[in-house]
Amino acid sequence: MGQITLSDIQRAYGNVKVLHDINLDIADGEFVVLVGPSGCGKSTLLRLLSGLDKPTAGRIEIDGKDVTQVSAADRGLAMVFQSYALYPHMSVRQNLAFGLENIQMPKAEIAERITEAARMLEITDYLDRRPGQLSGGQKQRVAIGRAVVRNPTAFLLDEPLSNLDAELRISTRAEISALHDRLKTTMIYVTHDQVEAMTLADRIVVMRAGRIEQVGRPLDLYNTPANLFVAGFIGAPRMNLLPVKIAEAGPQSVRVEGAGGLSIMVAADGSALQPGTDATLGIRPHDIRTGTGGDGSFTATVDLMEALGPETVAHATTDDGQKILAVLNGQDTTKAGDGISFAFDAGRTHLFDAEGQRLPPPRT
């Protein structure tokens, strides 16, 4: 079992609050990814979960038991650290065995578990080496192996891939995913790389400045980001966020207008809005095409066209100086300095109010 509940968790260092009222339910076997910009409190939250740190307020439950004051060792969790934190003076085998020896596990069982984990992670060949004699990817596997042999109720992983080069990161990512499928143990994974989050997670928790901004399945976050922060954070390249004004607002639809002749009717519940107030219209670069034939369109001046072959990335600026990024299908001959007209569909837009919150769906 590995069901975890966080209620009203707070953490302060002196007078500085770094976590504000975190509430989160994690189901058994779930792969949850915490993402957010640097310094938003991801590691802090993970350390509170692990028991290495204690929250200033709030409750942590594992499988229904309150463990808020239980020490790290007795929570039955295992952690994989960003810098691997392998004991440099011990061989790989001793690294794996250390935690098991500490709970007086019989030698035979320790050996068995190590063999099993080493086989699974393909580190059998270097069991007798020291961490200093391993490559980054091998160290990473050993670090994961050290967690696996513990047979924990949940894995906590703090940016485990951030020290690997790009290629290794992709393959190790796949391995972690496969490991989760095999073990079916709860995993809580911290990263600030949203590609990792999207590919690995059952559910993503987006954090900012010590608060949870949104929790949801990867595609839900992508398709219906709850606010401007999530909209900007999830998805690469970043969503275009155009400042617009509310022209008409009703419970079924809202019409907004912006620079470059932009005017579009979006299906949303705008009954709380006043015409003339500010709003933000979000359009992902992949949802823009050239021409005028969509639900909405606007004009801009091209700054740069990057031809990648199958697609073309257009950097442009609207009349009011707003930078626009569009990923156009195929190849395009427009040159820098030329005018261009962009079109898009209403169904692919995201409308946020002046506070940056997504407008609710149209009332039915």
Partner: protein, 350 residues
């Protein structure tokens, strides 16, 4: 020969010699004589007999006059080379000396006594090491006792220093608690308090806790070295905290973290401290001099000083014992010099 010259004269840039090169080599060569010379002289002298020690001018190598057993005499006689009146050189054994006249015999014709003016004869000598200078004091109980005391003090003090200092350094580098900075400040502030400043009250404190005139009284005041704590703490700060967190997740108790993780990882710093502690404690003089009063508790340094202060200074024994006292330090120097120089260059430790 020319290759040797080339080797010796090779220098930066390859152009000719200037005065700085000459000065460099003069300084270095003089350095060898001035720095090594005295110690070498000490070792050579320590193998001389009392008679040879009293000689002036002294010989470089320890020499002894050759002796032979001559028929008809109970004791061995000293051999001299004598210039005979007829101008020839002859080797004779001296029976006795009366004023400026020596009575000598030819070892091959022991019956005939030859009278020779002492200016006409020079001793037949060869290199000989007077090892009895070493053997006699080592057989006397005193010196062995001193040796044992010194070893005991050095080993115990070093072990306790390593243990207590590393524990304190661990607490000061890896825990956050109230007053930590205060403790650190206190330790740094006393880095500069030398023994001579607290000599009198320390003596009374040691008396009060009943350690006067005991080896533990020599050991304990020296072990809480601020230098050691400071050095180890600086080193432990470089050990990542994540490693300790990993160990905590691995069910290690704080004590296990200390001795399974911290101690092995701090081994280089511990080694440096151990070397220094050994040299310090072995060489300590003033404090043992103050605290030890029974002769059988003296350390080598105190014992040596006492011997050298006696009215009738027996240099042949003192020199030999000085050499013995020097041996451990010379061994440390030969094998571990690299660590020591690195330690000094890195932290100004002494």
């Amino acid at each position: 020969m020319s290759r040797v010259a080339e080797f010796l004269t090779r220098r930066r840039g390859g152009s000719g010699w200037d005065w700085t090169d000459i000065f460099t080599w003069v300084w270095l060569i003089a350095g060898i004589f001035v720095m090594f010379g005295p110690a070498v002289w000490l070792v050579l002298s320590s193998f001389k007999t009392p008679a040879a020690l009293a000689e002036f001018p002294p010989t470089v190598l320890p020499m002894a006059t050759e002796q032979v057993m001559v028929e008809g005499y109970d004791n061995p006689l000293e051999l001299y080379s004598v210039s005979m009146p007829d101008g020839s050189e002859q080797v004779l054994a001296q029976v006795r000396r009366v004023g400026t006249i020596a009575q000598m015999v030819d070892p091959d014709a022991p019956d005939e006594i030859v009278k020779v003016n002492i200016a006409e004869r020079t001793p037949q000598r060869r290199v000989a090491f007077a090892t009895e200078n070493y053997v006699v004091p080592l057989e006397q109980n005193d010196f062995l006792l001193y040796l044992r005391n010194s070893v005991f003090v050095t080993v115990m003090a070093t072990i306790i220093t390593l243990l207590t200092n590393s524990m304190a350094a661990f607490a000061l580098s890896k825990y956050r608690f109230r007053g930590r900075d205060g403790v650190m400040l206190l330790i740094v502030a006393t880095l500069m308090v030398p023994l001579s400043v607290i000599l009198v009250p320390l003596y009374s404190v040691v008396n009060a806790v009943g350690l006067f005139d005991s080896l533990w009284g020599v050991i304990l005041p020296t072990v809480a070295t601020p230098t050691g704590v400071f050095l180890l703490r600086q080193y432990m700060l470089t050990i990542p905290d994540e490693l300790l967190d990993a160990a905590r997740m691995d069910h290690a108790s704080e004590w296990q973290i200390y001795w399974r993780i911290i101690l092995p990882l701090a081994a280089p710093a511990l080694a440096v401290l151990a070397i220094f502690s050994i040299v310090w404690r072995w060489n300590d003089f003033l404090w043992p001099l103050v605290v030890l009063s029974r002769k059988e508790l003296y350390t080598l340094q105190v014992g040596l000083n006492t011997y050298a202060g006696e009215l009738n200074v027996q240099w042949h024994y003192i020199l030999a014992m000085t050499v013995v006292t020097m041996i451990p330090v010379v061994l440390v120097f030969v094998f571990l010099q690299r660590y020591i120089t690195a330690g000094i260059a890195g932290s100004g430790l002494k």
